[in-house]
Amino acid sequence: MNNTLIDFVIVSITLLSIGIYGLAVKRNAIRMLFAIEIIINAANLNLISFARFLPHSSGQTLTLFSIAIAAAEVAVGLALIIVAYRMYKNIDIAEFRSLKG
């Protein structure tokens, strides 16, 4: 219980940096999806820790919504990735080149 707000924020910023690194470097669709999930979870951690140090808790409400929405988003994303895998036998987005101009 000795943790201060800044500890949580540092962890959250670290997670954000890991997520952005993953998006910038990796080209595998599932890895990119999980990098995005890490960013969303960094935001959730931020919201919960701010809500703990603030008089009211609407941040925790938003976190619940955000977790549910992230789950819906991942469901749609994985479905799209499965369809892509059936078509190309590969989920490297650098290989998808039917559209360019």
Partner: protein
């Protein structure tokens, strides 16, 4: 608390019921029913909603501005709701002949309805939680719709790219919301802006970080230039009716959210942000229009032109505190662009159904083959280029005029007007090229049968575009009232 009989709730009930029951009907029904039934149900729900919005708009004179609730019913929201419902109606009508031969048409119409609820709620929401939920309700169905042709590799590729960038944009938005919440202790936009206007100097960098995260997150959907790379691929690969929904609907929802948060938030922060938005505006329109010239595919060309139009709309946003006419022109151009782009993409759907391709070389003689589609397409292209007396002319006139007005205060704003006029001239070059291919090339061709649903959309849009072009007064007055409400709120 928001009442159950308030307008956004009624819209959720109407559209949501239709959207949820369409797939259930298709499961209960043992023998396959034609997609026309689903089409009629969703069209009825949409028509009922738009008449309801217009009825409430006309009947009630007391109008609330930004409120303490999660939703408000103000004129800004009404304008966006009407244009998005109009786009959803045109898309639904135009989809009938496109979707007839394909399976799962009930899900297609149901997802369009659900996405429309999201767009309408984005326009009305005044709370960051509500805004985020509505934003996702709008986005997630469109990821599925973009990949609807699941046997088609390019549709799947476009959906995957759209999904990755869309999910990234919502992750950035929620990070921005979390910083805002930490700084202000509230998620209500009115409250946030009130606290932002009296924020400490040492917290100012953090609040600017939050605003720039909002600009990045909403900018992905709006297609502003550093964040535009997914847009041409998605617009080209997705089914063209869905492209109409994306270009005319979700993009405008991004602007609705931007006006509520970014513009008002930056004014409250009292930070010199006009330069940043002005640079983004010039880059967006220049890159969009130059890239459009090089394209060989109609959808891809119009996708780049859609990027260019986001730049024109941004001119008005960047001149807002100096001249009200700028934001008025932006709102008018958002409304016009929704109708024009939707018409153009529905016309492309007709071309795709009839001659199975959208390459510009292949549409020679379209003016004789498909006279009504070609006429609608030509009118919408001329309106996009801003030829008088069509509706695009008036909104561009207001935007560039506002930039010239503002130029007397900050001299760099003249460049916004110069870039805008040069880009309009440039865009007329490639629009004119398409029109020349349709009417002045190709020989010995006979007419082919045009899909009836496309003809209906074309006739409506021609009347609408020319009608607003000849008599733009009502909408200009309507935007004037919106600006009045916003200034009342800010003072």
């Amino acid at each position: 608390m928001i009442e159950i009989t308030s307008m956004p709730i009624i819209l959720i009930i109407i559209l949501g019921t239709a959207g949820v029951f369409l797939p259930i009907i298709s499961i209960i029904q043992k023998k396959t029913i034609s997609s026309t039934l689903y089409w009629i149900i969703s069209l009825t729900a949409l028509l009922f909603s738009i008449f309801y919005v217009v009825y409430r708009l006309i009947s009630s004179d007391t109008l609330s501005t930004f409120s303490e609730d999660v939703l408000t019913i103000d004129l800004l929201g009404n304008l966006f709701a009407i244009s998005m419902l109009l786009v959803a109606i045109l898309t639904t009508v135009g989809s009938l002949d496109f979707i007839r031969k394909k399976s799962h048409s009930s899900i297609y119409f149901s997802l369009i309805l659900l996405s429309t609820i999201g767009m309408v709620l984005v326009a009305y929401s005044t709370d960051l939680i509500m805004l985020f939920v509505a934003w996702e309700l709008m986005s997630i169905p469109t990821y599925v719709l973009a990949g609807f042709l699941k046997k088609n590799p390019s549709s799947n590729e476009s959906a995957l790219k759209y999904f990755l960038f869309g999910a990234l944009s919502s992750a950035i938005i929620i990070y921005g919301i979390s910083i805002t919440y930490g700084l202000t202790g509230s998620t209500n936009i009115t409250e946030v802006i009130r606290i932002f206007s009296t924020i400490d100097a040492e917290m100012l960098p953090l609040s600017l970080l939050a605003i720039s995260m909002f600009i990045a997150g909403f900018g992905f959907k709006m297609g502003l230039v550093p964040f535009h790379m997914w847009l041409p691929d998605t617009y080209e690969g997705a089914p063209p009716t869905i492209t109409a929904l994306l270009a005319a609907g979700t993009k405008k929802a991004g602007f609705a959210a931007a006006i509520r948060i970014i513009i008002i938030g930056t004014i409250a922060l009292n930070f010199d942000w006009m330069v940043a938005l002005g640079i983004i505006a010039i880059m967006t329109m220049t890159i969009g229009n130059i890239a459009a010239i090089l394209q060989k595919n109609l959808t891809r060309m119009l996708a780049y032109s859609s990027i260019g139009h986001a730049g024109y709309i941004l001119i008005g946003l960047s001149t807002y505190p100096l001249s009200n006419i700028g934001l008025q022109g932006s709102l008018f151009h958002i409304f016009n662009h929704a109708i024009m782009k939707c018409t153009a993409f529905i016309a492309i759907t007709g071309v795709l159904i009839a001659i199975k391709t959208t390459y510009i070389e292949k549409i020679k003689g379209l003016g004789i083959k498909m006279p009504i589609t070609a006429l609608g397409f030509t009118i919408s292209l001329l309106a996009l280029a801003g030829v008088p007396p069509l509706n695009g002319f008036w909104s561009k006139l207001m935007l560039f005029g506002a930039a010239l007005d503002a130029g007397s205060t900050y001299s760099w704003m003249y460049w916004l007007a110069i870039a805008g006029v040069l880009n309009s001239a440039l865009s007329l070059a490639y629009y004119g090229w398409i029109i020349r291919k349709m009417y002045f090339e190709g020989e010995k061709i006979t007419t082919i049968k045009e899909p009836r649903s496309i003809i209906a959309v074309m006739i409506f849009s021609i009347l609408f575009i020319v009608g607003i072009g000849v008599y733009p007064e009502p909408i200009i007055q309507f935007t004037d009232k919106i600006i009045f409400q916003l200034t009342m709120f800010l003072s």
